[in-house]
Symmetry: C2
Subunit: 186 residues, 2 copies
């Protein structure tokens, strides 16, 4: 007599996601999203960014609440360290995007996750942002993400999970490929 396995539950509703994908195939306009933030200067290098609304599925949408995130530079840069630096927010974006992907894809592949964590490290030569050396770029010279994943799957399946998460990650794409940015004053 076989013992039934408990259903895999990573907290992701894959049926809803697959349903959305199927529905969007017939309604291309509904897939056009706009994400938004408002950044307000506080003082010095300290700012607060608020995120409340976005556009998608053909209409205006709202988050459950208005989320606010402080950014600043560290004490060492003669700032007040009222929040993480802008570049650290890029690492939050990357780590959270890949990790959400791992959970969603694990659910779809019926892999039960027990724990997932990632350390993200990015190198930067600050001669760039200080304007001290025109040969040095302002951004990161590279980023390394290292995952620790405890799951009901072998190493090869876990590696495949992570590879698929990279392949579908919005933030991985944004960092590894160029995106056009226009900046203007009203």
């Amino acid at each position: 007599m076989s013992v039934a396995n408990p259903p895999v539950d990573n907290g992701v509703n894959v049926e809803a996601l697959l349903g959305a994908r199927a529905a969007l195939a017939d309604t291309p306009d509904a897939a056009q999203f706009q994400w938004r933030a408002t950044t307000t200067w506080v003082r010095g290098t300290h700012s607060q960014s608020s995120i409340e609304t976005f556009y998608g599925f053909g209409e205006e949408q709202q988050h459950r609440t208005t989320f606010t995130h402080d950014a600043d530079h560290p004490l060492l840069f003669a700032s007040e360290d009222n929040g993480i630096t802008p570049v650290e927010y890029v690492l939050v974006a990357l780590g959270s995007c890949l990790t959400a992907g791992v959970a969603a894809i694990a659910q779809q592949r019926q892999i039960q996750l027990r724990s997932v964590s990632a350390t993200i490290e990015a190198e930067m030569d600050i001669h760039g942002i200080l304007g001290a050396d025109p040969e040095v770029r302002n951004g990161f010279s590279g980023i390394r993400v290292s995952y620790q994943i405890d799951a009901d799957a072998n190493q090869a399946d876990i590696e495949a999970l992570l590879a698929q998460s990279q392949k579908r990650s919005a933030v991985y794409d944004i960092i590894t490929n160029p995106t056009n940015v226009t900046v203007q004053v009203n």
Copy 2:
């Protein structure tokens, strides 16, 4: 008799920044920074990213406190909206980086800022992340940043301020140019 103008004060210690730039010219190793984050999966698409330490000026450094940021997907994606989405963190990074730059450069140019805010909007066709159309990229198709700046300066000087902030922005560089990212499982 002339009336002395009050000193320009945007809360940025430009002397310290210029001193750092001068000091780093002679000690290239001190300019090699490493920024870090740790992302831990909570459940579903919800994760928490913690930022505490970094490396720079030749030694290990610490933020004043450990900063934690929640990310999630919205209710519409059958998630719980426990935080902003990973792609919205990219907008926070960009807005806060450009805004810190505006403040620092205004200080250096002796322009008193009264208020600075930016709205950041980014378009995305979610056929990409849903894997519904291989021709559609996962990331943003483009980003627009619009500033409202009230300062003791004319429009041309304000535009020049913003242009210089773009030129020296780490996050603007990261988004508009490719960066290498490696992802591995330990």
